[in-house]
Symmetry: C2
Subunit: 336 residues, 2 copies
DNA sequence: CTGTTAGCGCCTTCAA
DNA sequence: TTGAAGGCGCTAACAG
């Protein structure tokens, strides 16, 4: 029962191992009768080709490396979900690399990825910086392993295929919604850590504010609720009365802000309108429900995997930047 | 640059490939000077052993298969995080299998796992049923590939190593807290789908209620917010006034319930006390903050991976059931 | 349409 | 302490 090899199948089916290999990989090259016989034996023996031997001989692994930061971020998990669904269509398996805090070993890790013979790499670390981008580029060129960035942007260059939404535009639009409400003192709540996508949201916000000749106010805080709650309380003390609008780069930050303000006696959205980003479950579980930019995160994952598959298959993708459509969802934290 | 093989290293270091292999896998069997020289060349060439060749020859993959349902569930993502951290300690890579809705192909998928030569399997699908359990067992026995269940319980048998918490006890304790508050009409909100762990929480709830000679009320609903909101509204119409306590099997369900009730004018926790399960970010982002059972989900993942590693290394684990400690966290939705 | 024959890159006895 | 040689299970020309 343990392990049937291609030899066992060949023997029992009365053919050579090459024929077995063919019926599995190039069925059209095998006469139907032979093929059927072989398939029956395969079934009987519960034979599955050894992935290592197959990979070694064919130099292809039918697997892709998925590189993510901290899984506990809702958007990351959802992205992986999207990738998984698409990957299954191609029978590709996913090798998961979680970066976690320690960027130290990223170079080392990428070498592991190469050694693992992954057919392609899906990189979704939105904290990407110039150095990392350069390294990915090197890897793609030196080792000829295709890379796709999912929900990860490095806007200063476009050598790598990228799937994302137009974060600048989204930030711009959300801010304009608040301006249209008549809000004047609109704050942007962003992360202290450097996320490229958040910088773009911020740039969109700044543009909208400048266009309206309003003053920009950017607060850098943490994604950690206990930490940002403290920040929000301080903010309230200093200038709380003047805030009448907020754009947060993550839903969870928006919700944390809302909670803090409501506990301070503020009315949402009467006193302050709030926009989040992503449309995660946090947005639906907030009270009032959070207005936010809806990002098709599942689709981004799926699209990224689909493009990677094309690259693996040797198709050239001239459209490097693939921008998916986003929506502005108005719920209970803004005034329609 | 492309790919250095063991031959290149051997040549450049002036040794045979066997020596290179040894310095990597059995360094103590190589004279220090030779070893250093080889290591230097490895460094220079950026050599990494091809994972396929290595796996084929050694019959070990230093990778484990991680089987999960839907990644978008916060607890699942966190579990994977825990696994990833621990796996990195051993330099194990993770092959991710997302079950998603379609259980249809689970048998097939498990065959893939075996074919992938994973050294072990981490199974964390809390919807496990008898059939699946039996199949896992078969796989473990027939193919000699160790399996560990993480946060997944099949309480009717104990052939597979399991890491979890005592869900029965947790349900019992949480219910008793509410009873101690003087609550009489305590409802359990659980999932319509069959999750073994939720059944245990439910059993604990029932036991506590029976002990206190109170009537049990079990509501089966969905994890989907739009769906369960409808249920909660109906519930309120029928018997809303009589509900004074709730235990929900997931934080997100608890929060959704709270939102619905507060919108109906109920006071939380004055009118109704609420307990959730897990202590996810949802609990901290709810207003009031959710009281809940704290489950050390990260630790469960890490512990499961650690045990799997032991099994892979041939250590026999007699302690099949590994029960980690949980806490009851009282925050704003219960009365202390 | 099918069989034969080299490898793929590495590990692992067995000798030396 | 090191080298030589035989696989691991499969794919992919090349013949036939």
């Amino acid at each position: 029962m343990s392990k049937a090899t291609i030899y066992n199948v060949a023997l029992k089916a009365g053919v050579s191992l090459a024929t077995v290999s063919r019926t599995l990989n190039n069925p059209e090259k095998v006469k139907k009768e032979t093929r059927d016989r072989v398939l029956r034996v395969i079934e009987e023996l519960g034979y599955k080709p050894n992935a290592f031997a197959k990979g070694l001989a064919s130099r292809r692994s039918t697997s892709v490396a998925v590189i993510v930061p901290d899984m506990s971020r809702s958007s990351i998990a959802e992205l992986v979900n999207g990738v998984a669904v698409e990957a299954r269509k191609y029978q590709y398996s996913l090798i998961l690399y979680v970066l976690k805090d320690e960027n130290r070993g990223e170079t080392e890790m990428l070498k592991d990825v190469v050694a693992s013979q992954a057919d392609g790499i899906l990189y979704m670390n939105d904290e990407i910086n110039e150095e990392q981008y350069a390294m990915l580029n090197t890897i793609q060129e030196d080792y000829k392993v295709p890379i796709v960035l999912a929900n990860t942007l490095y806007p200063y260059d476009n050598k790598l295929v990228t799937v994302c939404i137009d974060y600048f535009k989204a930030g711009y639009e959300a801010t304009n919604k608040l301006i249209a409400e008549g809000r004047k003192n609109i704050y942007m709540l962003t992360t202290a850590r450097k996320y490229m996508v958040n910088d773009l949201k911020e740039a969109g916000y700044i543009k909208a504010m400048k266009d309206a000749e309003l003053e920009t106010n950017i607060i850098r805080t943490s994604g950690d609720i206990t930490v940002n709650t403290v920040h929000f309380n301080e903010l309230f003390k200093d200038s709380g009365k003047k805030i009448d609008g907020v754009i947060a780069v993550r839903d969870s930050i928006a919700v944390s802000f809302i909670n803090t303000m409501i506990e301070k006696g503020k009315k949402i959205p009467k006193d302050i309108s709030v926009f989040g980003f992503q449309n995660t479950k946090y947005a639906s579980l907030s009270r009032p429900k959070l207005s936010c930019v809806d990002i098709p995160i599942l689709d981004i994952g799926a699209k990224a995997m689909a493009l990677l598959k094309k690259e693996i298959d040797g198709e050239h993708i001239e459209q490097k930047f693939n921008v998916l459509h986003h929506d502005i969802i108005e719920r209970g934290t803004t005034i329609k």
